[in-house]
């Protein structure tokens, strides 16, 4: 999943306004960062092709809506970036403290936690 700066801004606009056509998007961004109507039309198309927007034809124009929420998109990006070194589709470029995608069951973790507690108590006992 890759997103350009303008794509991110357009997404943020749609998260705020829920739905808009290209003219509304253009009218908003023209004042703050310029660009042509075509630029915004192709940005919306790209986001649609990336499955991040849905669209519906109302009259002559498409109206775009976000297909994912902000937190979902960020979650997808983190997952994609941190896909682990040892999996098949890894990118091997991440050094993580504790991987999200990695997958220990709670029971196993509780056993390890008990082991740490035991060691802590042993240490406290030794000091006393």
């Amino acid at each position: 999943m890759k997103l350009g700066e303008l794509e991110k801004l357009v997404l943020q606009y749609l998260w705020q306004h829920k739905s808009a056509d290209v003219k509304q998007v253009f009218a908003y961004f023209e004042k703050i960062r310029g660009g042509s109507l075509n630029t915004y039309q192709s940005t919306l198309d790209r986001l649609f092709k990336k499955d991040l927007l849905s669209r519906e034809k109302i009259g002559y124009a498409f109206h775009y809506k976000p297909r994912v929420e902000r937190h979902e998109l960020i979650g997808q990006l983190i997952k994609s970036v941190t896909s682990d070194f040892i999996t098949e589709n890894d990118n091997s470029l991440i050094a993580a403290f504790s991987s999200i995608s990695k997958d220990f069951n709670v029971e196993q973790l509780s056993k390890l936690e008990a082991l740490i507690e035991e060691q802590k108590q042993k240490l406290t006992g030794d000091k006393e």
Partner: protein
């Protein structure tokens, strides 16, 4: 030019023999790696992935030298290659060289493409992040995660979920751990290592990468401990974050990769609790095994050549 192509054929065959022998050897002793000290283990892993390259290059140079000189070396029976000045692309020599070159280019190109994709994903993520005072990037997400990446412009990311779930002391553990990865250039090393592993069969490559991941994590944990933070505190922080993620993700733990991940975490905790009696590497045994590998790889060349010539025409 024919000599060069023949040397590439020598290189490719030696590489395959060294790789197979090494893989067989590694499968036998892989579990013993967990008992070796972290630094030695890392060196050994690099040696394993680089050995086929070193041995093949050395043998190609020796055969080239033996072909061009009248020295004593040329009398060593296995240090030769038949009809060095003769090379046909439409022969088994040609196919071996062609396939080898294609595979090397494929690994290199896919590695670089992955790197480009990863960089763009990081750029996308950075656009949703805010830079904190300590230079760390904060991402809004309820997951508890921290990771570092980048070769030149290195970046450390933490999620707001991790910030919310940890105390400031626990957060320091996480950041120190990530900074240790950044200072040792681990993301770049992992990328190079993964490329080298692409030349091994997948189960061996996975195991090698697993060992390197574990060694890098243990070394980063060690850096945190050396900064004065107690081992037990690092261990509890690690478990706390893993537990939070396990509870929120509820992922089943029955596939190979998940078991690998669990193994790494378990080993890190045992390491932090001093449950592992890690020992320095046995240099004599390592040297003997490495010597055996060189002997197998170099002596096989002539035999393989004769065998292939009985099956295919030159």
């Amino acid at each position: 030019m024919e000599v060069l192509w023949n040397l590439l054929a020598v290189f490719s065959i030696t590489f395959v023999v060294a790789n197979i022998s090494l893989s067989a050897l590694f499968s036998l002793v892989s579990q013993q790696f967990l008992k070796i000290e972290v630094k030695s283990r890392k060196r050994l892993l690099w040696l394993i992935t680089l050995s086929p390259w070193i041995i093949s290059t050395a043998l190609s140079v020796l055969i080239f030298y033996s072909y061009h000189s009248e020295s004593e070396m040329s009398s060593i029976s296995f240090l030769h290659w038949h009809h060095m000045s003769d090379f046909e692309w439409n022969s088994w020599h040609g196919y071996i060289v062609g396939l080898s070159l294609l595979y090397i280019v494929y690994v290199f190109v896919t590695g670089v493409i992955k790197l480009g994709l990863h960089k763009r994903e990081i750029d996308s993520l950075t656009r949703f992040a805010t830079k904190m005072e300590n230079g760390v990037y904060k991402i809004d997400s309820d997951k508890a995660s921290a990771f570092s990446t980048g070769f030149v412009r290195k970046k450390c990311f933490v999620t707001s979920g991790l910030l919310d779930k940890t105390t400031s002391d626990e957060f320091d553990v996480v950041i120190n751990h990530e900074m240790a990865h950044i200072n040792s250039n681990d993301p770049f090393k992992k990328w190079v290592f993964a490329m080298l592993c692409s030349f091994f069969a997948q189960p061996i490559a996975l195991r090698l990468k697993l060992h390197l991941t574990l060694a890098m994590e243990q070394e980063a944990d060690n850096t945190v401990i050396n900064s004065g933070i107690s081992k037990l505190f690092v261990a509890s922080t690690l478990i706390k974050i893993a537990k939070f993620n396990a509870q929120s993700a509820l992922v089943k733990n029955n596939d190979l990769v998940a078991n690998f991940g669990a193994d790494v975490l378990e080993q890190r905790i045992y390491f932090l609790l001093d449950k592992l009696n890690l020992e320095p590497i046995n240099k004599s045994v390592t040297a003997a095994l490495f010597f055996l590998l060189i002997v197998i790889s170099t002596t096989s060349i002539d035999g393989i050549h004769h065998f292939m010539e009985t099956l295919f025409s030159h």
